[in-house]
Symmetry: C2
Subunit: 472 residues, 2 copies
Amino acid sequence: MFIARGAAAALMSFGACLWISTALAADWTEQDLNDAAALRDRALSGTAAFEHVESLATQVGPRFAGSPGDAAAVRWALDRMGKLGFSNVRSQDVLVPRWVRGNAEVVLLSTTPQFLAATSIGGSVGTREEGLEAVVVQVDSFDALQNLDANTVANKIIFIDQRTERTRDGGGYGHAVRARVQGPSIAGKLGASALVIRSIGTSDDRVPHTGALVYSIDAPRIPAFALAGPDADILSRHLKANKTVRLRLKSTARELPPVWSANVVGEIPGRERASEIVLLGAHLDSWDLGQGALDDGAGVAIVMEAARLIGKLERKPARTIRVVLFANEEFGLSGAREYAAQIGEEAGRHVIAMEADTGQGPVWRIESQVAGDALPAIAAMHEVLKPLSIELGANDAGGGADIRPLRALGVPILDLSLDATLYFDVHHTANDTLLKIDPKVLDQSVGAYAAAAYLAATKQGDFGRLPPAGGE
Amino acid sequence: MFIARGAAAALMSFGACLWISTALAADWTEQDLNDAAALRDRALSGTAAFEHVESLATQVGPRFAGSPGDAAAVRWALDRMGKLGFSNVRSQDVLVPRWVRGNAEVVLLSTTPQFLAATSIGGSVGTREEGLEAVVVQVDSFDALQNLDANTVANKIIFIDQRTERTRDGGGYGHAVRARVQGPSIAGKLGASALVIRSIGTSDDRVPHTGALVYSIDAPRIPAFALAGPDADILSRHLKANKTVRLRLKSTARELPPVWSANVVGEIPGRERASEIVLLGAHLDSWDLGQGALDDGAGVAIVMEAARLIGKLERKPARTIRVVLFANEEFGLSGAREYAAQIGEEAGRHVIAMEADTGQGPVWRIESQVAGDALPAIAAMHEVLKPLSIELGANDAGGGADIRPLRALGVPILDLSLDATLYFDVHHTANDTLLKIDPKVLDQSVGAYAAAAYLAATKQGDFGRLPPAGGE
């Protein structure tokens, strides 16, 4: 972080015109700014973004890392970027872990057995073939899990009944997701026989939410399940009404040997400083339960279409726009790590990195993590985005998961925040389908990404470098 | 139909005061009308209806005819009505058919196989163990199915891609449902190997919709499946993009021997003319996929709570309020048929029948099917219901499915129309859960049912008799 939020806010209180005129002299020609605004407006009148995501979701569908769908998605991306006129279209081999969900069965042993809508958490071990049956101990939060006494939960099933708050910036998810990621190993260390959580999402529908767990090296690996919201309610109501509630759990989830997947890359070459790169990232893989329309078909469509629109301009930007569709974001960031590992000296020529991985949008905020003297340029970019109802955030952007390894190498970051209010209704569930996408919203996002990327690729100076950080 | 819609509308244009004063003299004392209004208002300030449906959906859950859940529901209803202070609580044995859904698998054989969210239609035969695989022929409507040429569809899978219109009165469902009920036998007669339909519902979620089919005696029984809306979209998009699309279908659905279930009956005895009955019906069974919270847990709760509120009054109505929770509405109306078959001479003492089976409400209309000279009384009842934003409909009420056999015996009918606008988002799907119920809405429905039932049970004269009709 190079400027405190307070200081950034103070800077923002200067008049916009001042920024534009300052920036104009230092960073962009008037034509650059006009061309960016024209890109923005053209997108609003309709883009091909929906066609991209429709094609990916329909022709490929689910594409979990290492699955046949994943391989089909790589072929799709190479083919699509080629047809759309990208240059230097290529793949980069990435070894990905291979986990298979199998079937999950969670049965509430009430008067009559009730089958609850549930799924294995991504990466979970399965149960023995006959399953397991145990008494349930409920906690209301991840914090309460951490305070449990091992004596009270040994050989029992722990149920974390924590709700995910609906927020525009995704903060509710970020808070709740610890139950899924770290919960299984904490429960395992306590001697529990399994962990069951309320889905990390905001849906009222009977579609359980998946996503990855991370087993600690020093914890027993116990099976972990997520219940759909209504099913967490059923279990919770039974726990209120009855002294003892038992569940029967079965899962055939299992790990297989790693297999090869690939990042897919395509470029709109710059006309003057082509070796300098503005990176637009999204991830090609999806979870297995849905079509991956919003996560991250929408992101793929937004960055491909933003770059394509720039590529169609008569006056190409000075720098190269590089679209990277990362392999296996969902289950270990394999593609992002490989890209950063192979980047070598090219890292220094990555002028800025952007990512689209929070659904369709609309973009509601621009945030940066750039050197302090590039902040007037960010404010000037914001002026171009403002007609799209986009706010200017602080200079502490986190970057999406796939560009964090680049950030760690010193690459500056620009976040166009996609509105996450409704995103966690469908994210990582079977409901992540095309029906949840509004082409008009997608067009707004394309407009924002295209204008911002164009400005980044035409800017006279760069955005500085960030101090290298350890890991992502 | 005893009065044309036009005539009814003309009658309705008279001033409300006229009706009330006319009715007052002929049908009700002022205290009757005041007590009905007080019941209505008390319900709005909160009832126990949600507790009833919460208990049924949680403690019993799914209760498909003949299943262990169905038997548990009968025990639940006997127990609950007893505890709530109903009189003459009893069960009436009903033989019900027994169908088991098993597992359904619909796989789109694309570049990589895509599993579509699907379920067997209720009553469908299963496939051979290895399943079946065939080319798909799409039609856009039930009418188009009827016009298909057998030569073009023999040994193929027919896909009916017809959408269900969202309507307040449920008419959209009534129109679309023919594809499910009659489609399988029409397709069978055409020589198709299977039928796949777009779910008969309005949901955008990945929850397929079940419901019963009726096989014709003279048609080959072919397996029939419903795809969730987003999955019908996937198939439809593939059919647009590709000349030939193949599906692989598997289903382990099967029929077992019939088993015993029961109607459950409880009464609030009348204080003067206790042998005369105002019947409030709902059905106790549900489909197997959801909790049956809206279909028909809500109806069970509405009629039980309306009757309970009447039972708590110091001044009980003259007639008996009889609550009947019918067995197996969903898969053949077994309970309603048995009730009517056993009714004998008591039929003539059923003054009027009402039913709640379209979800939680709110009630938006009152419709009747009564003798012409009882219409002023219906208009007066409407005056009492008007503060709940309830319209007066015509005298051509259809009655719910469970009271149609009574209608056929000449029993007059009162329909309190429950708002179906959102009902078919969840009806017959896994999403039919408590989370979709708003206790406040349920309270409005209880207020309307309680006030109407109270008025029917205190009315001086009756509602006449209808000419007997054949069957339901």
